[in-house]
Amino acid sequence: MIGVGLTIVFGVMRIINMAHGDIIMLGMYGAFWAHYAWKIDPFLSIILWVPAGFAGGVLVYRFLLKKIVPAGELNTLLYTAGLSLFIANLALLIWKGDYRTIKLSYAIMPLRPFGISVPIPLAIAFVMAILVTAGLYWFLVYTDTGRAVRATSQEPEAAALMGISVGRISMVTFGLGTALACGAGVLLAPSLYLYPTVGEILVAKCFVIVVLGGLGSVPGAIAGGVLLGLAESLGAVYVSVPYKDAIGFVLFLLVLLFRPAGLFGEGKS
């Protein structure tokens, strides 16, 4: 789900958003505080935080990013890296660096379908992620705006010629991207440790997924996510447990070298 958000942001605007991970982090913290302060079940708080994420994203794009995009991909990369550092450190200042977790009363016993042990929060997150992804798919395929987003992502110039307001669509897309990330953060919050710099690691994994599936391709991002998950788990079993994180990166490099378009994407010349 994170991957999909990232890939549409890149596909539409050729922005590589390094801050994506930190938005996830924000989502996680959002869920945490919602739970802690207002006693709302974190999974429900997604209703609050996803639109907030969307709004935030739109604002960031409109006021910060829009001017940078013409300066080239590399500059936007550096800029978003700066943004990422800024957000993460701001979070450090405000919330301090301690690890936090969310404890849910119904999360103690894991589910056991088919003999595999699945923790409940993860299961709920999985189901909701599928729902969201399905919803996103519906949006992209069946609504006008969604189709506009896809069109702009594939051929910005042609889309402009067809009367699509590229600027507005870019804003919407970025907002979508951040909303998805935020939502993902909320979903993940009960299952992972929370700390302000968690964004760093997440964004790296994120990029691996997106490149695997093909930058700009939505089904690719989904496939990429699945592939990475499989590769890591299999790798943990057959190669060795500590190196499982490295597998993702090795795959990343291999794909970049030999098939830069990824599995599904159009790639970049």
Partner: protein, 319 residues
């Protein structure tokens, strides 16, 4: 005129520890100088050659570990160790370049990130060599005398002079590079790699040279880092955060300039460390903020912008 300024600066540099004795400030100066070295190393590849790398901590880390391991296991004096650390970093740069240089622009940047992460994970797990997550620790540094006086490793002053020499050396080599044929070739590759090929520049060779030099300097910086802090562990030394700091210092200071990294380090490190001493955490916030400001308003960096102002005023070319 410029020569006199440099002499004055060098003199000030030499005299500083006699004048400023507060350990915090000495530490600050050491940090500034160290980051100047690291920023300059990144600048060779990222600024002059235009190949933005997000994985430079790999070279720093290799240099750091090499120096540490050689000292702890073989008793090799760190002064040689640091140089060998640099060479080791340059050595691993070659296969890295082979893999990553097939990519361009942001893809290259991401691939260097991946490589650095892989190296970090390897270091984390190759316990027989690196002691894994526990890291390596130095308790005593070798007894050395300098001009007849035994060096007191507990004080910061010797470290100051060492890093001062290293930093000045690095800036000097970058200055020589900038003036040389290779330096000009780097700028061409940065500007338009295909056109550079068309005028007879062996772009592959040029990029690898830049990478090797850049890695060497970063490795030397890493070696110093190890000796100064006396402790290395994979998460500290191979971290994305360190890579990113190097990038930011070079960019904010001024890409393609010699002095840029120094300015960037003075600015960012001073702000960061001062902030850190009061608030303990979140000091990189300035790095993020200034990077955004720089890309938006001053992509040529602080020193780059100053140079432009000079040039427009006097109509004469500067360094």
């Amino acid at each position: 005129m410029r020569f006199i300024l440099i002499l004055v600066a060098l003199a000030a540099l030499l005299a500083a520890p006699w004048v400023i004795t507060d350990p915090f400030y000495v530490h600050l100066m050491i940090m500034v100088l160290m980051w100047t070295l690291l920023g300059a190393s990144w600048n060779v590849l990222g600024g002059f050659a235009g190949q933005v790398s997000f994985g430079h901590s790999a070279f720093l880390g290799v240099g750091a570990y090499a120096t540490m391991i050689l000292y702890l296991n073989l008793g090799l004096s760190p002064w040689y160790g640091i140089v060998i650390g640099g060479l080791a970093a340059a050595a691993i740069a070659l296969p890295i370049g082979l893999v990553c240089f097939r990519l361009r622009g942001p893809y290259f940047a991401l691939s260097t990130l991946a490589v650095a992460e892989i190296i970090r994970l390897v270091a984390l797990n190759w316990e027989s060599l690196t002691n894994g997550p526990v890291g390596l620790l130095i308790t005593t540094l070798p007894p050395v005398t300098f001009a007849g006086v035994p060096v007191d490793w507990e004080s910061k002053t010797p470290f100051y002079y060492i890093i001062a020499v290293l930093a000045v050396g690095s800036l000097g080599s970058v200055a020589m590079l900038a003036h040389s044929r290779l330096g000009a070739y780097l700028l061409a590759v940065r500007d338009d790699i295909d056109t550079a090929e068309a005028i007879g520049i062996n772009t592959a060779q040029v990029r690898v040279s830049a990478l090797a030099l850049s890695a060497f300097l970063a490795g030397v910086g890493g070696g110093f880092y190890a000796m100064y802090l006396r402790y290395v562990d994979p998460d500290a030394v191979f971290s994305i955060a360190l890579s990113v700091e190097m990038v930011f210092i070079a960019v904010v200071g001024g890409l393609t300039t010699v002095i840029g990294p120094l300015i960037g380090a003075v600015f960012l490190v001073t702000l960061g460390e001062t902030f850190r001493s009061h608030f303990l955490t979140g000091h990189l916030i300035f790095y993020g903020l200034f990077m955004m400001v720089a890309i938006r308003y001053m992509p040529e960096g602080i020193w780059g912008r100053l140079r432009l102002i000079f040039r427009n005023r006097s109509g004469v070319r500067n360094a």
